[in-house]
Amino acid sequence: MTTQQQPMPATGATQATGEPSPAPLSDGTAITGRSPARMAWRRIRRDKVTMAAFVITVLFILIALLAPVLTDITGWGPITPDGKAINPDTGNFPRGSLGGISLTHLLGVEPGTGYDLFARIVYGLRTSLFVGFASAVLSTVVGVVAGLAAGYSGGWVDSVLSRIMDVMLAFPQLLFIIALTPVIQNAMQTNDHGGTDENLRLLVLVLNIAVFAWAYTARLVRGQVLSLREREFVDAARIMSAGKWHILFRQLLPNLWAPVLISFALAVPQNITTEAALSYLGVGVIPPNPDWGALLSDASQFFLQDPMYLFVPGVLLLILVLALNLLGDGVRDALDPRAARG
């Protein structure tokens, strides 16, 4: 840092010559401060692993968004069976090697049905990402509001909310969802065939995951608010007659972006895994609707005869979750550089 001459203050107060000035001033250009967010972005840019994870994540999101376009190009939809690709003589296993990977079917075909695996994976990615992000958004919003309320109000509000959080965190989430999902779906049977509408199933899935995830965010935010509200800038705001809402949303919330963003980034892969696990167990998305968890469940029956069928969605799920986790870690390192790397 360089020392620079500042203009004499109007009062003629002692000049702060001994103090380092933030940056040299070039003539004519307005000084804009580097905001904490911008500094975090610079740190991410310099982190190769995080940038790679970021690129992979963006790629996955693009593929999910462009799913209809991609399947139009290949010419096979997720539930269009290709009878020629499977061999009835071998028990409807794909013709050719590596699970029927060919120019027509880029990732092979599903044994038994003859569905194009590429189309099923591309559409399954939509489900995974939608459930992962939607439940993370929902749990984060609820968690932030509950955490702010508990941390700032204190007293009985805090006691009640904290006990609810403890209960939610102590719940056996997976067991509960497995038990509850059929009940909810039965109660909401809507479509003509007496089954549950696919969108409704997804909604139930998102709600179920979010219900058990918000408590993590809430507890994190509550802890942060408890320490932040003792800082003197909150007293300073009170002295300038700031109301409760101003203090909560203008003073405290901007300081919570970092931990909230980190918990969001780490919740997405967690939720994707949960969704896949639930679909694997048959309480999430059910075939013939495309989903990675359901694919893995189906593939596990044939993995001796057709290992590629298990391998392809398995590896893709691994890459997606790994990329999202690494991205989350990178975001945490960038936003909170002082936290030691685990």
Binding site: A16, G33, F233
Partner: protein, 363 residues
């Protein structure tokens, strides 16, 4: 600088019998109060318009609590705070707006008193926006003027606090306090977190502002030298009570309360070879717990002049015989108004006594 007292009724701030007890509770579900920390225990003082009053004392004597009671960051347990002719002791938060416009605060820690996610401009503008003050030149221009007033580059408007040093941050805090053109600023140890080299700059800045803008100050500090430089009147606190209050000259050269003598004697001498040696008083032990303060005079447990009467009768804060106008002392057996060296040093600390005896025996 004049040390004359404003006549009664002209006081900007009048504090009487101000008390703050923090309850100590025990129990998980059914909490019961088992005691209280007597942080501030019935203090009276006044500050005239444009005047500066220093509050000094050891850590934990209640000076900061007093500052927070005046600005109503804390709710007083008892007593009265009259600011600008209005009793604000228990004014509800939503009607404090008017008073707070004229009553601002500068905080101790420049690192926690500025929101790290707000730009300097936002920090200085927020008080104006919250109080619907629309200066004719616009918020931004006014904020930049304020930055210039406190000696910062107005182009730093868009920067974040983390880009500034402690002294510069404290200047931002001062600009924020000035934004509402207050009549009184409570400065809670505004320089104790800063490097010594920066302290003088900040104190001089505050002094210039006080002179030019006519702002009254309640200046809380434990550094006697800083208070001597800044304040026209000084009040010495001990364990939640004011033990002595006087104008600067009188307090520093002719104190009457033994505790004031001890405090002044603890300030290191700039010139050890000075012709007039000062008295030497070394106290023993710690400040007693404010949960259960001593009866009578609170200083009696550490006072070398304490007698039976000090334990039974609390000395009132009054003008003693021989004291100047406005010089109040709370002591039954006051000292002579002088800080000259005595025939014999008062060393109450047994460790120090042993050490010095050994040293003299050896030599």
């Amino acid at each position: 600088m004049s040390t004359t007292q404003p006549a009664a009724g002209e006081h900007l701030l009048e504090v009487s019998g101000l008390t703050k007890h923090f309850p100590i509770r025990r129990g998980i579900v059914f909490q019961r109060q088992i005691g209280a920390v007597h942080a501030v225990d019935g203090i009276d003082f006044t500050v005239g318009a444009g005047q500066s009053l220093g509050l000094v004392g050891e850590s934990g004597c209640g000076k900061s609590t007093t500052g927070r009671l005046i600005t109503r960051l804390l709710e007083p347990t008892a007593g009265k705070v009259v600011f600008d002719g209005e009793d604000i002791t228990h004014t509800p938060e939503n009607r404090m707006k008017e008073a707070r416009r004229n009553l601002q605060m500068i905080f101790q820690d420049p690192y926690s008193s500025l929101n790290p996610r707000h730009t300097v401009g936002t920090i200085v503008e927020t008080p104006m926006r919250l109080n619907d003050i629309n200066p004719p030149q616009g918020h931004k221009k006014r904020a930049q003027e304020l930055l210039e007033t406190v000696g910062l580059n107005p182009e730093h408007y868009n920067r974040y606090p983390n880009e500034f040093s402690g002294g510069q941050r404290q200047r931002i805090g001062i600009a924020r306090a000035l934004a509402l053109r207050p009549k009184l600023i409570v400065a809670d140890e505004p320089v104790s977190a800063l490097d010594v080299s920066i302290q003088a700059q900040i104190v001089n800045l505050l002094q210039d502002l006080q002179r030019e803008l006519g702002i009254a100050f309640v200046f809380i500090a434990h550094d006697l030298a800083v208070v001597r430089h800044f304040c026209e009147r000084v009040a010495v606190m001990y364990l939640g009570k004011i033990v002595e209050v006087a104008d600067r000259q009188t307090l520093y050269t002719g104190p009457r309360h033994p505790y004031t003598h001890a405090l002044l004697s603890a300030v290191p001498e700039a010139d050890p070879d000075a012709v007039h040696r000062r008295e030497r008083i070394r106290l023993a032990g710690d400040v007693p717990s404010p949960v259960d303060p001593p009866s009578g005079c609170r200083f009696r447990t550490r006072c070398w002049k304490a007698q039976e009467r000090c334990a039974t009768e609390e000395p009132p804060l009054v003008r003693l015989g021989g004291n100047a106008e406005g010089h109040l002392t709370a002591c039954h057996f006051p000292e002579e108004p002088s800080v000259e060296a005595r025939a014999e040093d008062i060393v109450l600390d047994p460790a120090l006594t042993t050490l010095e005896d050994n040293a003299s025996a050896a030599s």
